[in-house]
Amino acid sequence: MSGDVTQLNARARGWLRHLWDKATTPDDWSSSGEPHEWWDRDSSAPMCAFPRFDLGESAYALPLMCEVTPAWREVYARIAREFCERHMTFWAAIDALVLIGEDPNVDRYPPEWQIYMPERLRGAYAPPGWIGNGDERWGLNPDPIAADGNVFFRGFFNLLLSVYAYVSGDTRYHEPFEVSGYMDRTFTWTQPELASFISAQLAARPEGPHCENTKIWPFCVSATGLGLKAYDAVNGTRLHTPFDAWTEFAQRHYMGRDRHGELEWFAFYYDPIERQACTFPDHVTALAPLVTLPYLYPQRPDWGQWLYEQSVRKLGWSNPKARINQFIPDPRAISIALLMAHELGDDITEARLRAHVEERCEPRTFGDENDRFGFFFGWGERYPRGQQSALLMVPEVGGRAAWSRWSNDANLSKFAAPTVEGVDYPSVGLSVARNDVDRGELLIQTYAATRSHAGDATSMRVVQIPDIDNVRITCDGDEFTAWRAAGPNAVELDLTIREHALVVRTGYHGRGAETPPKHAASAPAAVATATGGANADRSAVAPSPGAIAMVSSCRCC
């Protein structure tokens, strides 16, 4: 379960196929329309029962997949772009745009939702998710981004835009785009403006900006911080700096330790107007820090690891002798605990939680050709539950520590390296696409992403080749000749759609300062030793079948 992942496994390929469907199937997120039913607006209610959370969380697998196939990014870029475009619409900001003023239903919410309110306020207090835009204190903010509150809109949006930038290398959203607001008015933003707004506001409010009027969530402020960190990673800025002050503040005010120094309570959120923290009683308080960890840990690994260890111990999930109990009928906390156990290398807890997930969360393939994958949780629904599946896919797709790596140690060298483009996805996909800079080779594995298209002819290009005069290609171990030059630095390959293992000798050995970070250069050492082709003078030598066989070494196969 550990180590670098070098190939998209079957589940990752099935999830990618489903994400492609969701992203590229047109639907209407305007005020006159309604998102397709596969967009999740039910999970983790009341706070996450809005479709934008599906947009944000479904994007989490994309940078991890991009780390597995850094030389094939166009599919992730397309999906992320479609997510970003939806995040600018009415339905993405629906809570801020229609849940206006005081909540008229404060004494009508079901008991399952009342546990997400401070005990003393239940029955007289708006639940999480009721933003109350337009209330007396804050006024009406027609722009869902520019507000004193609503950080759970702009913070997650900036994170999503940063995912797009990370997988695409494109600055599309540095140019103005329109965001839908109150009464269908539109507001113009760029991502640099958005990120600067968030950073300046966080600096001015070290306790954290609020989401609903008025609730400050460690969960959302942490996600906001991660968005800034990812933005900095791609753009070389330092907008994340104010997050450090928030972490200091949060440790003093949003959690408490007992006399032994153990975690005693953690605020799910804090309402500064009511001066009340929403906490869960006793051991169950651990659910609150857990859901924060995917965002907090990449930014403050010391604090994040401590919170993780405290949480899984309190809940009994790390105890091999204890049963795994979910405590509330929402699998989010278990999904995140699994994500974090995988991230941190807590093998015992990971094995226990994986077994629980396999048994209870109904992982299965589905779709026309049974080639999509997701988690159905035994709920009898037509599509996999979006938010919950997205969280469970993170440890399926990425290797150990992969989740925090993409925002901490951004692999930007991939944008200058030989890259595969023009892949006719979803007919054909690439499960391996990465450069071995030591050998100057691009390693590719193709597969039929749509099974009924297997055997059809297809083509794809390899671009950014330093010297196409010395290009040599093998396919499944044999010399491959069905290719031609397609410009000064590109070649085009003609293939049939099925599983192929290609090695393109590009002569690319990295570019000085753009030397890939350690993780990107983690092509299996066995490749270099088994081929015998890595001549000292790096002359073009056809790779051996052994090299081809080993490029796909991974935990899943």
């Binding site: 209610a45 506001q201 919950q388």
Partner: protein
Amino acid sequence: MSALRTRIQVAALQSLLTVLGVLMALASRHVDRFRRQVTRDLLLEIRRADGARQQYRFHAGPRRMTLPRHAREHTDCTLTFPTARDGLRALLSPRAIGRIVEGMNAGELRIEGNAALLLWFHGLTRIVAPIGRSRRPRRASGSGVPIRTPERDAPYASRIIREPPVSELSRDWPQAWAAREKLLQLRAAAGERLPPG
């Protein structure tokens, strides 16, 4: 001797459960904070595996809680203690939920049905028997969480468009009203059954 002790413990647990129920039933008549939280028809049960047993019935219409004379088979949530002693220890503890969690993890204590209801029920019991503490951030002077007002002076705030307060969504935006009705926030408040997850 041990059989006698067990019988005493069972009787004590039964008494505790009944007294708790009577107090809660009274609260459901007279305490507004209690009544506002009774929003669904529910039946909860706390029992020992082979002895004490008490059901608590919540009525959303009159916002009352009653103690049924005759136990029903189907409940929305049942908490079963392995022994009366465990039940007494948990329910009288200032960290009742912690003890219940530990019992569940050890496999000795069972919750059937929706465990979230038990957390909600625990909150109701604390209205009549405020055992334990509510956690909140420290209020050390000068270091508490500040109460903010709308930001008008900071450079970033120049982007914030702040219009006069409104009490409800504009009636001139009918499509937004139609979309609003589809939100789970509104449907749940109207009594619609919650989707799983």
